[in-house]
Amino acid sequence: MDKHSTFAGVRGLLAVTLLAVGCSEPAGPERGARPSPELASTAASGIALDQLNGTLNENGTVLVKGFNPTNPHTGDAIIATFFWIGPPDIITSVTDYLTTVPNTPVGNRYTKVAAASANGISMASYVATNVQGFPDGLNDPSGNMILAVKATLSVPVLDGGLMISSWTGVAPTLSQALGASSSASGLGLGATVADPGAISINAGALAYAVTMSNRLVTFSSTPTGFTSLSVQSDGFMKTDGECNCDAEFAVLGDAGTVEPQWTWDFGLVPGTWLASVFALNPAPPPPPPSGDLTVTTTTNGPTTSQGYTVTVDGTNSQPIATNGSVTFTGLAAGDHSVALSGVAVNCAVSEANPQVITVPSGGTATASFTVSCLSANDKMTGGGKLGEGRDFATFGFEAKSTGGQLEWVQHCGKGTNSGSPTCALGNFTFHGTITAGSYSAVSDQPQCRAWSGTGTAKFKDVPSRSGTYTFTVRAACDNGQPGRGTDFIDIAIGGYEDSGYLTGGNIQLHKTK
């Protein structure tokens, strides 16, 4: 193989092979009497062949072809490969228009991405991405609204043509779409390998490969792993000289390297070949579906806070008024952690904090935080007894926003009693420290307060259970005097639970002093 060599005096023969995976839609009939190209197969990835057409036996200073009878889809990428017998670099512009009368310019931008020329034959491939401005996918047998692609040449050619194809799933901008490219040419006798060179290719990208020879001969092999998109031969050019062209394509699942190779059977007469390969990258995956999250706060009671902070997923924070709302936009659909911070110690959040909120795709989720603030003087003290007979508990506590303490003594007359809800573990004493900020009002029960903390339990009958436990007073209620029979407490210490009205003692809620 002699790349970039010249072979003067031999007229061109165009042969184009497109290898495509996943393309099945046939090309429309040719404009005029030129033979239609053979069509290729289907692509299995995001890039797929949409429309295909081609023509040879053109001459003059214009090479043009429309997507008869069906337009591409808007957003497609269009590849236009021009073949001609003549010198290189004579294409002054590539444009498109609608086949109205008169023609209507469309204005998509075509950029040369690969070219080769040797011994009087030339080819060049142009790409336009994200094409717009034509009836999307219109099937128009009348041919009046068909998108056509045209190359204007600086000098007339005696024979030429083009192959146009449109592809869905290609990246919308050329900078994103265009991958590597390589072109080469050569001269040979007998079986001659046409090889444009190897290029790297990204996963899911389209490898478009095209070859052209100046003699109407056959292939003994086509690129391995590629699918033939179209083989065009030019009887006129054959008569006039000879032209063979072949285009092929492949869409690779994984990133790698491709090096398409054809074997032209030139026989005893030397032949010249041109070959190009280039890659078009797929459109980037769409961003994950997203939605919005609106967080609202409602604050009841006195607070010194000027506002709070809402944090989503631990990192995305916004300030929020004590009674206000903020919206987080563009969150990935799915579950998100939403936390409210900056709450004063005399205030408590009624809801779980943080909350887990599911943001719907394309929608808006809401999260609400209700902050209940107590007077700075608000506190509760109490002591007394729960239960009667041989199993009873005595307790005392002092609870306020800044903390406090709680003592709980469970007396079990018979020691452990698995049948007793309070004496399963027998006698114990518990001394707890109330966590600052846990002291809070109880919804709809203004005489009740709740709090939590940790402490140490000493079990008399089951010493092995002694240790540190969390505790929660779910409600302690001052319902008046005397507390006996009216005041109420509901407590959980580890797995121990007890609740009821006092059988002795009193609970006192102090709002002022």
Partner: protein, 224 residues
């Protein structure tokens, strides 16, 4: 029972039982002085053993004058020949504000044996609660308990005996069960001492006081 009677009782006890008197000494004088602006008092002890020469308090607590909470606990106590008990604890809580003063003290012990088994109880609990709102001042002992009580071989039901039940202990003295010592005017101040088992020891020869043993002592007082 009037405040005068309490003062007389304390004065009588001071002659031989000064330490106990001191321990019990939230005095009416101080209570009355504080009544002008409101005051709260709470004291408790799971057990107290007082002789002519010494006084011992077990799991005792005192409420801060500003209110709040105090607690004390003791796994067991052994005063040979006098008192054995376990699970001793006392808690006192209370607070005062402009509208109400309230306090509660609890004191308890389990598996009690006094004077080598002369008196035994499975559980002893004293509860004293007082509250005053400027118009009414009330104290009560509800919740107090004596469980499995046996005095000198006599079993008692698991309900508190009547307040101030007097039982003679020949050769020893006597015991007052569910002893309650209230005071106050019922309007602006109130107080209550609850001693669930109060043994008054007397000298078998001279008949003079020789000491006290108290199991389950809770005191509360409120004024406004």
């Amino acid at each position: 029972m009037t405040g005068t009677r309490i003062q007389l009782r304390i004065a009588r006890r001071l002659s031989g039982l000064l330490p106990l008197a001191v321990m019990c000494g939230f005095t009416l004088a101080s209570t009355r002085a504080e009544a002008q602006t409101g005051s709260v008092t709470g004291r408790g002890a799971a057990a107290v053993v007082t002789t002519t020469t010494s006084a011992q308090q077990f799991a005792s607590v005192g409420l801060p004058s500003a209110g709040g909470m105090a607690d004390s606990e003791l796994a067991s106590v052994a005063v040979p020949g006098t008192l054995f008990a376990d699970g001793l604890s006392s808690i006192t809580t209370g607070q005062l504000d402009q509208m109400l003063v309230s306090t509660t003290t609890t004191a308890q012990a389990a598996n009690v044996s006094v004077l080598r088994g002369l008196i035994t109880a499975d559980a002893v609990l004293a509860v004293a609660t007082s509250y005053a709102n400027g118009v009414t001042a009330i104290s009560e002992s509800n919740g107090s308990a004596l469980v499995g009580l046996v005095v000198n071989g006599v079993n008692y039901a698991d309900v508190p005996p009547a307040p101030n039940t007097h039982v003679s202990l020949p050769g020893v003295g006597y015991v007052v069960l569910n002893e309650q010592i209230p005071y106050g005017d019922g309007a602006h101040n109130t107080g209550l001492t609850v001693n669930m088992i109060h043994v008054y020891l007397t000298d078998p020869v001279s008949g003079t006081p020789a000491g006290d043993i108290v199991v389950g002592m809770a005191k509360s007082a409120a004024s406004l």
